[in-house]
Structure formats: structure tokens, C-alpha cells
């Protein structure tokens, strides 16, 4: 068996200056633009009325009490627990105490919920539009060139995607056109964005999805009944096992210094 002939293609060095470099620069700049567009598009949180804020914060207060209970002495924890549980069960913190037990309104008719959906749509748009634009731009400008050889072999299934516009049937899959360089930059530029924009940027899809999960968003959505959440939290507080952290601290200290 003869060694398969290694295909070589002699390419103009100008391909680097006129295709590779422009695509890379455009990708980096789009990432930066997307980051700043996302920062600008983020609508400021809407001002809420005092009872609503009290309703949210008192629920958070119960959770914090549960999370940090072990730094409290048993007596002070009991006092707090008794107060919070009774207040939760009476519905003291509810925004509209008369509305207890009534069914919730349809979330689609609630303007606050619509705002959240709009924010998500905006994020998706800011991601989708540049990608489609750039892919179209690359297809329109740079199709039909073989620009580089990948250093690793691929299966022939990739041929139609990576060699689109190159009309040679028997060319090795490793020779790829400009569209594949676009895909490589799409996935590989995240570290570059990290170094340019700091770690919390929204330049790429992955980090952008992380940013949408801002803490406390699902805590008290408009579709949930606050009264039920309060009763739930009261129950959690009731069944919680409290252990004081300073219990037996003398023994621990002595053990630490004697060893």
C-alpha cells in the first residue's frame, strides 16, 4: 500500500491579511460591542412600593435567620424564631392582607412579569442578531476560499459545513474555508474577552446566560402566592434543628492548644 498522498495547496499569504485577520478583529469587536450593548440595554430595576419591598425582604430575613442560626445563642434564636413564625402565620408582612386566600391573577396580565420576559427577549436578540449578521457577512464576502488547514483530522460529515462554497469533491476535510475560522473564534475567544473586559462580561453566550440568573429573581416571582411562601418558611423555621456554634468551644480550644 502506498502512502496516501498528502494534499498541499499553495495559498496566497495575503489571505491571512485579508480574511483571517479581519474575521478575528470583527469577532473581538462584536464581543465587546455586545458586552456594552447588554450593559446599556439592562433596564434599571423598577421601583416598588414599600409593602412589596417589605414582603420580599421579610421572607429573605427568615431565610437568613435559617442560614446563620448557628451563630446565635439558643435563647436569642428562640426569640427570633417565635417572632418570625407568628408574624408569618398571621400574614403581618403581606403586601395586601385582605388578599389572603384569593387566587392569583394570570401572570401574563401582570406588567411586572411582562417586563421580565422582555428583558430575556432583549438578551436573546442581542445575541442572535450579530451572529446572523456576521455569518451572512462571511458567507457573502469570503465564501469559496480555502484559507487554512486544521491540525487535527475530522470526519467527512463536516465537509459540507466547513468547506461550503469550495467546489472540490476530493479535498481533504482538514482544508477548511473561512466559515470554520468563524466557528473557532466563536468558541475560543472567551478568554480574550475575559482579559479585555474582566471576568463578569456578557460578551459571549455562556456568561450571558449566567448573568440572567440574577440572585433572588425566582425567589418571589409574581406567579407565586406570597402567603404560601410565608407559611412554608414558617414551617421550615419550626422544624429546624438549632446548634450553637460556641457550644463546647472551651474543649475545642483546649484540644487545639494541647495538641
Amino acid at each position: 500500500m502506498a502512502q496516501p498522498i498528502v494534499q498541499t495547496i499553495h495559498r496566497d499569504p495575503a489571505l491571512f491579511w485579508w480574511i483571517l485577520l479581519p474575521i478575528t478583529v470583527v469577532m473581538v469587536l462584536t464581543g465587546i460591542l455586545r458586552h456594552y450593548a447588554m450593559t446599556l440595554l439592562q433596564s434599571a430595576p423598577k421601583k416598588q412600593a414599600l409593602p412589596q419591598i417589605r414582603q420580599q425582604r421579610s421572607l429573605v430575613r427568615g431565610m437568613n435567620l435559617r442560614a446563620n442560626a448557628n451563630v446565635l445563642t439558643p435563647s436569642s434564636f428562640q426569640a427570633r424564631k417565635a417572632y418570625m413564625v407568628s408574624a408569618y402565620q398571621e400574614g403581618k408582612f403581606l403586601a395586601d392582607p385582605e388578599g389572603r386566600g384569593k387566587p392569583r391573577p394570570n401572570p401574563m396580565s401582570d406588567p411586572a412579569a411582562m417586563e421580565g420576559i422582555m428583558g430575556m427577549m432583549k438578551g436573546n436578540m442581542a445575541m442572535m442578531v450579530p451572529q446572523t449578521l456576521i455569518m451572512g457577512w462571511i458567507n457573502a464576502f469570503f465564501s469559496g476560499f480555502v484559507i487554512m488547514k486544521l491540525p487535527f483530522p475530522l470526519t467527512p460529515q463536516f465537509k459540507s459545513m466547513l468547506q461550503s462554497g469550495v467546489g472540490t469533491r476530493d479535498l481533504d476535510v482538514r482544508w477548511v474555508s473561512s466559515l470554520s475560522w468563524y466557528f473557532l473564534t466563536l468558541f475560543g475567544l472567551q478568554p480574550v474577552y475575559n482579559f479585555i473586559l474582566g471576568s463578569n462580561n456578557s460578551a459571549n453566550q455562556v456568561t450571558q446566560q449566567m448573568g440572567q440568573m440574577n440572585p433572588g429573581a425566582g425567589l418571589m416571582g409574581p406567579e407565586q402566592d406570597p402567603d404560601k411562601l410565608f407559611l412554608n418558611e414558617a414551617e421550615n423555621l419550626e422544624v429546624m434543628e438549632h446548634r450553637w456554634i460556641l457550644e463546647g468551644v472551651e474543649d475545642r480550644l483546649l484540644a487545639k492548644f494541647s495538641s
Binding site: I147, P151, P191
Partner: protein, 109 residues
Amino acid sequence: MNEERELAISPIVHSSVQHNSQVVSNIRNLTASLFGVAAGTLGLESYPGFLFYLVGTLIVSSLIFAFRTDGKPTEYFHQPLGDLWGGDVFSGLSGFVLTWTLFYGLVRA
């Protein structure tokens, strides 16, 4: 129960954990891109290239282990095996492939 008590006595601070893993991922990203440059310039192809990346990250891991954590990774990471030795190996791979392809294309092909 015992472990829970240990956690309460010496709690794990979330922001510190985040900062530590951020430092590790920054080092990984930078070194992965540099390994890509090296692999492309050396003209490595397919398996030797990926092997080069794995060996390189292993060396970087041991350097982090020796210099950044002073040989005591348990003080910096909750799970040293996953966070230090294995953390972000695959997220660095995309940066590696990018620079590897670029420099391979520029130097060799």
C-alpha cells in the same frame, strides 16, 4: 452530622472560593493559548497536539500546586482534585484549539 458541624465551625466563604477558581481559570486560559502557539509552531498534528495540551496542563497544575497553594491545596480549595488538578481543563481547550489552528496555519500549512 459531624461534617456539617465542621463546616459550621470553619465555614467556606463563597466569594473566596469564587476568587480562587477565577485565578485558576485565568491561569488556565492564558497558558492554554500559549500552549496552542507552541503546538502550532512545532507543527504537531492530531493526537500529539492534544497530548501536548494535556501534559502542559498537568505541568501548569503542578506549578499552581507548588507556587500558588504552597503545597497545601486543601487550604485553598474545597475539593483539590476537582478544582485544582481538573478544573477548567476543558474550558481551556477551545482557546488552545484556536491558537493551535492559527499558528499551524501560519507556520506550516
